[in-house]
């Protein structure tokens, strides 16, 4: 091992590869942008004609939630690529290289988070464009809150990519991954309040929304983009930040025990 520099090079190497793959997989990029836009237009627009929340159109209200959703789905799904790496035996090339498992994990996290951040930026641009066109009145996507938005999105991506990679490190087949991750994805998504204010949920669900980390991503984004929220921004960021650090440790441990 080459010490810290060697580990950094290892992280860079894996990042380099993930970027190349992302760049080549055009269909993946298109799908990851198209599906949240469809949610916004069809789900948001369809319901939006009859519902308004806190004086906002429903479409405007769910924009932050859709943003968080797109990060959630694409980040967790990123974990399937470790299963794929094992399947195509590329994993052996990485495992036999002189880098530690934590560098390997970090390289993957950085790679997956980059994909999700690129996608988020495109969605933010689309949101800003729709607001200009008068389709999403009340949306604030400006330079002012940008740093906070990106920070929330990045921490969310890091957490969710870690979850995906942890699942992936245990799975032998992409089908198995799909099954397990969907068990996790939908509760995380629906309990986060992405589609409705969590205050309107039945009381017995309240504890579950509190332990869903995505709740704080949605709340933080809503705070910055819509100017309305349940919790303080620092509270949201603090929780997501803590969760992402914990998940990085958990993921490193999962990779440490991962076999060929």
């Amino acid at each position: 091992m080459n010490g810290l520099r060697g580990e950094l090079n290892g992280i860079l190497a894996i990042w380099y590869r993930e970027l190349k793959v992302f760049q080549r997989e055009k269909s993946r990029i298109v799908a990851s942008i198209a599906s949240p836009v469809l949610w916004l237009v069809i789900f948001g627009g369809g319901l939006g004609s009859s519902v308004s929340i806190e004086g906002m159109s429903y479409q405007t209200f769910i924009f932050p939630g859709i943003l968080a959703q797109s990060v959630l789905f694409s980040s967790i799904f990123f974990g399937v690529y470790i299963v794929w790496d094992r399947k195509i035996d590329f994993l052996k090339e990485v495992l036999v290289a002189p880098i530690t498992r934590s560098s390997m994990f970090m390289g993957k996290v950085v790679g997956g988070a980059t994909d999700s951040m690129i996608q988020s930026c495109v969605l933010l641009a689309i949101g800003a464009g729709m607001e200009k066109a008068g389709m999403l009145p009340g949306l604030h996507i400006g330079i002012g809150g940008m740093a906070w938005m990106l920070l929330i999105l990045l921490l969310t991506a890091i957490s969710m990519v870690s979850i995906g990679l942890i699942i992936g490190s245990y799975m032998e087949s992409p089908e198995g991954f799909q099954l397990i991750s969907s068990f996790l994805l939908f509760p995380l998504f629906f309990l986060s309040g992405a589609l409705f204010p969590i205050g309107r949920l039945p009381a017995w669900l309240a504890p579950l929304t509190i332990i869903d980390p995505l709740t704080y991503s949605v709340d933080g984004l809503r705070n910055v983009i819509l100017g309305s929220s349940q919790f303080h921004l620092a509270h949201d960021i603090g929780i997501i930040g803590t969760v992402s650090v914990l998940l990085i440790f958990a993921g490193t441990a999962a990779f440490e025990r991962m076999k060929l």
């Binding site: 091992m1 080459n2 090079n9 190497a13 195509i88 290289a97 880098i99």
Partner: protein
């Protein structure tokens, strides 16, 4: 000092003993072959020596580092070409090599120079910017050979380097291995179940069967053990003691309808052998001892060639576009 030294290296998969107390020393500059049929334990041995698999018992030192206690240092000093393709087929050949250089912390200038050199060695320079998905099985194997060499490992492990390749690609690969063993001053460990391959490339051979080394020597010495040429006879009828009166016949064995005699200077003795067989002889063939004979001598079995489960060639087609 040997560059590899294993002591009681053992691997069990559950109750199944895949490798049984291997003790082996390899000196610098050797091209050592591990010859054995499918399932003999060759890949298992390599995966342990390259730290990807934990031994059940025993250990080994590779380049002076213990495979259990210092796996990182072992990995830094070795290169390996796996039995199955392990490059990323969505990347180009060049990108796979660049990635490799980065994983091994090669300074960028050295990395680029080495990429050029190794691509030249395996004659892929003109295809370096094609996606690996478009490579043939042989080209892909050459790329991975280049990759295994790129970071100047002191030991290069090759797991069935020509499994599943067509004869022409196989010749190419043999040529490269032969050259690099001399040019790059690297110790090479080759596993194979192709007799011809290890016979041509290796300075020393370990014959492995069912997880144990049954013989270890130079190919020439191993063949000397047979003690003569091999005469294979097809007989209409096999009478007991048919050749027992011929004192130059060292050994007579019948297997699968063929009779095999071990004879010194067989070509000169052929008339006498045919006289003994008389009207029962259908055909006769004389050959110098091969490693196949050696393997048969030690294990009573034949290595069936070309029966590996490797997936070079067809694999790039199977997975293309399914990512």
């Amino acid at each position: 000092m040997p560059v590899i030294e294993t002591s009681g290296l053992t691997k069990k998969y559950g109750e199944f003993l895949a490798l049984d107390r291997l003790n082996l020393k390899v000196d610098e500059g050797e091209v050592l072959g591990l010859l054995g049929p499918n399932g003999a334990g060759k890949t298992t041995t390599l995966l342990m020596l390259t730290t990807l698999l934990k031994p059940t018992a025993g250990t080994a030192r590779v380049n002076g580092f213990d495979i259990i206690k210092e796996p990182g240092k072992v990995r830094q000093s070795i290169g390996i070409v796996f039995q199955d393709p392990s490059s990323d087929d969505i990347l180009t050949g060049y990108e796979n090599l660049k990635l490799h250089g980065m994983l091994y912390s090669m300074p960028p200038a050295l990395r680029e120079r080495r990429i050029g050199e190794v691509l030249e060695l395996v004659e892929l320079s003109d295809r370096k910017d094609s996606r690996v998905r478009q490579y043939s099985g042989g080209m892909r194997r050459r790329l991975e050979l280049a990759r295994g060499l790129m970071h100047h490992p002191r030991i290069l492990f090759l797991d069935e380097p020509t499994l599943g390749l067509d004869p022409q690609s196989r010749e190419y690969i043999w040529g490269y291995i032969h050259n690099l063993a001399r040019q790059e001053k690297v110790t090479v460990i080759i596993t194979s179940h192709y007799m011809e391959e290890v016979d041509r490339l290796c300075t020393r051979l370990a014959i492995i069967d069912e997880g144990a080394v049954v013989a270890l020597d130079t190919p020439a010495n191993l063949k000397r053990v047979i003690g003569g040429d091999v005469v294979s006879l097809r007989l209409r009828r096999n009478r007991d003691g048919m050749f027992s009166h011929l004192d130059f016949v060292r050994k007579a064995e019948t297997k699968g309808g063929m009779t095999y005699l071990t004879v010194v200077n067989a070509s000169e003795r052929l008339p006498e052998i045919l006289r003994a067989a008389g009207m029962d002889a259908v055909s006769v063939e004389v050959h110098s001892p091969t490693l196949n004979d050696v393997f048969f001598h030690y294990t009573g079995k034949e290595i069936r060639e070309g029966s590996g489960e490797g997936s070079w060639g067809e694999r790039s087609i199977t997975y293309s576009g399914k990512r």
